[in-house]
């Protein structure tokens, strides 16, 4: 039983990181129907910014997190303005391929600047408490609490504020939204900033939990977050959160029950099965196509 609780804690930790990244995918998809494949690499750059803040500037945790979120949000907006905005009217696939190209660029640029994996210095003292055999570290609690707080904040923004209403309006009908006075370009940029900022936060938290970072760490984590977004129903914000936790649970459980080399195999096979029964994800709406 303690083993189960221990694993459940790990599930929540990994799942909340996946969910944070998946939110970036799903927000951009919801508003532009475009898969931002560079998002996993924004996450990686976030981890590297955290490294720079910690190792070179010697910042403590909270400023490092803020710096990373801000820098990645800025990077996200710059990428959107330079690479994606000229392609709004182009075929959808060109934008997706551009995103792949931007992702490759970020990976290789980071690789060229730092060819070796980096070790992040500990940003805070890690305390471990024992609750009846279950070891809970302060780091784990911090990661879980922070990501849950960010997710609730996002949910609040999207559902309760004018900005969120503008986002929903654009995702509902992009042609009509500007006629109702929604500044489309600005809202899209803000969406990118928020999504990328969440990615940067996820990068920092991930770097805290697994302190060795390398330029290709964003590839696998990014694809997995994308899968969680799709499992939850891409375009749906609550779906992305649920999807992240499901993927985390599947991964941790297979790693706990089977040899760890089977982890990817089982988790992807399960996702395929899930997609067969719910082809549009858990909270996604099947959009009927009209001829």
């Amino acid at each position: 039983m303690t083993y189960f609780f221990q694993q459940a804690l790990n599930v929540i930790q990994l799942g909340s990181i996946y969910a944070l990244i998946a939110l970036g995918y799903t927000m951009v998809y919801g508003i532009l129907t475009m898969i931002n494949f560079a998002h996993g690499d924004l996450f990686m750059v976030g981890a590297f910014v955290c490294f720079m803040a910690a190792a070179w500037l010697g910042l403590p945790f909270v400023p490092a997190l803020m710096l990373s979120m801000f820098a990645i949000a800025l990077l996200g907006v710059v990428i959107e303005r330079l690479a994606y905005k000229p392609l709004r009217q182009a075929p959808r696939v060109s934008a997706i391929i551009t995103a792949l190209g931007v992702g490759l660029f970020l990976e290789n640029f980071t690789l060229a600047l730092s060819p070796y994996p980096k070790q992040i210095p500990p940003l805070m003292a890690n305390q471990v408490w024992h609750f009846g055999g279950v070891a809970v570290s302060s780091l784990q609690l911090l990661i879980i609490a922070l990501s849950l707080a960010l997710m609730f904040m996002l949910d609040f923004i999207v559902r309760r504020t004018m900005l969120g209403m503008a986002m929903r309006a654009i995702s509902c009908d992009r042609a009509t939204a500007p006629l109702m006075g929604v500044p489309v370009d600005r809202v899209i940029s803000i969406t990118f900033a928020i999504g990328a900022g969440l990615g940067g936060a996820a990068g920092t938290l991930y770097a805290l939990a697994y302190p060795v970072i390398d330029p290709y760490m964003g590839v696998m984590v990014g694809w997995k977050a994308f899968i969680s977004a799709v499992v939850g129903g891409i375009g749906s914000i609550r779906g992305a959160m649920i999807g992240g936790f499901i993927l985390g649970a599947v991964e941790i459980m297979t790693a706990a029950l089977l040899p760890s080399t089977y982890r990817d195999l089982i988790s992807f096979a399960l996702l395929l099965v899930l997609l067969i029964f719910r082809p549009y994800g858990i909270l996604g709406k099947p959009h009927t196509q009209k001829v």
Binding site: V93, I96, L104, F105, D264, L265, V291
Partner: protein, 396 residues
């Protein structure tokens, strides 16, 4: 409405003028660089939209030669002879021969992915998975099953077997594509790629994560040449057949083509099978060229490479795939002195191409080579395959 002030108006006019001037200068440079090539193309009637040799106004020798069907045969024979002669007499530096073989293998990969992504309009991101299947199956055959002495003789068989098994796997991947499209199908193919990779990592008989060693070098220039020509020829004929028309109609509108009684399931299955067959063939050739394979060679980054080639060259175009694969491979090799920075440079090129030519270099266009004007203008298009009344198989 806000009225523009005089100053703002003048600034705008000034900007407009500057833009036009820059544009003229750029056009002038482009004309200086590309002009001779364009004139040559026009003379040969390659991009012929009116004008050119085929219009009958100015018959030129080159135009006649390049529109003649027999030229293709002669060129193929010459190429085949060259592919034998080059390794035999060492006409070209071995390093260039190797690059030539990489180019050919990448052409097969790009062209087969273009069938699904370009012509059918799906978004498959797991092409390296099929490649892995072909590579492993053929390598197991030549290393473990077939007698060692017969390697060179049995090689085409092993390659074809690799392709066939990959095609079978492609059939399985085609089944989810009946229900889902777009991003969800992308997930399916992505998951397929990861599953294949981690499956091979978990089978100890083929070396697990360490990979399969001791493959003999059976891939030679003539074989690569033959398989490349074969794949171009088959996929070109497939696209222009009635099944190919069905594939195109699925891209344009799946429901409408279903209504027009195109058997979409049949067509999709066939497209996936053909595409994965050639991916498997390319994998087999690759394995016997590298003489060593491991699962990490066929991960998602390899799939991304193939995607880049296809979209760089242009979707829905065979000439585009050939161009894209050649440019990508050769440029990557040519930039080798830059070290790691070439990997930074290539994605930039891709992004720029996408911004200025969103459909890729040749998107939806072909060179009009080796066919006369009347061949492609007045010919009625073949009808797409039609499901018979009882809903059974399509008559071909």
């Amino acid at each position: 409405m806000r009225r523009e002030t005089k100053v703002r108006q003048r600034v705008r006019i000034h900007k407009c003028m500057r833009f036009l001037r820059n544009r003229t200068i750029a056009a002038g440079i482009a004309e200086r660089l590309l002009g001779p090539m364009r004139r040559l193309c026009k003379a040969c009637g390659i991009f012929s939209r009116g004008g050119g040799a085929n219009a009958g106004d100015r018959p030129s020798l080159w135009g006649w030669i390049f529109s003649c069907r027999w030229t293709a045969v002669v060129l193929l024979a010459l190429g085949f002879a060259a592919s034998f002669a080059i390794p035999r007499f060492n006409l070209v530096n071995p390093y260039y021969q190797l690059i030539l073989m990489y180019v050919c293998i990448n052409i097969i990969l790009a062209i087969s992915l273009n069938l699904v992504n370009g012509y059918m309009g799906e978004f498959s991101v797991g092409h390296a998975g099929f490649m892995a299947v072909g590579a492993y199956v053929s390598a197991i055959l030549t290393v473990k099953v077939l007698p060692a002495g017969l390697g060179q003789v049995m090689f085409p068989l092993a390659v074809a077997a690799g392709g066939a098994v990959a095609a079978l796997v492609g059939l399985v991947v085609a089944i989810p594509s009946f229900k889902t499209r777009g991003d969800y199908l992308a997930i399916v193919t992505l998951a397929f790629n990861m599953i294949v990779k981690s499956l091979f990592e978990n089978i100890d008989a083929v070396g697990g994560p360490r990979g399969l060693l001791g493959i003999s070098k059976l891939t030679t220039l003539p074989w690569v040449f033959v398989w490349t020509i074969l794949s171009v020829w088959i996929i070109r004929n497939f696209v222009y057949s009635r099944f190919g028309r069905g594939v195109l109609s699925i891209r344009e509108d799946e429901i409408a083509s279903d209504m027009m009684s195109v058997n979409t399931r049949h067509v999709k299955m066939l497209a996936f099978v053909v595409s994965s067959f050639f991916a498997g063939v390319a994998g087999a050739l690759y394995a016997h060229l590298m003489q060593f394979i491991n699962p990490r060679m066929f991960d998602i980054l390899k799939s991304t490479d193939i995607l880049v080639m296809v979209y760089l060259g242009g979707i829905g175009s065979i000439a585009g795939s050939i161009l894209g694969a050649s440019i990508y491979t050769v440029l990557l090799e040519a930039l080798r002195p830059l070290g790691i920075w070439r990997m930074v440079f290539m994605p930039l090129v891709l992004v720029l191409v996408m911004i200025f030519r969103p459909r890729g270099i040749m998107g939806f266009r072909e060179f009009r080579l080796f066919m006369r004007r009347e061949d492609y203008e007045d010919r009625p298009l073949p009808a797409p395959p039609i499901a018979s009344q009882d809903g059974g198989e399509a008559p071909t």
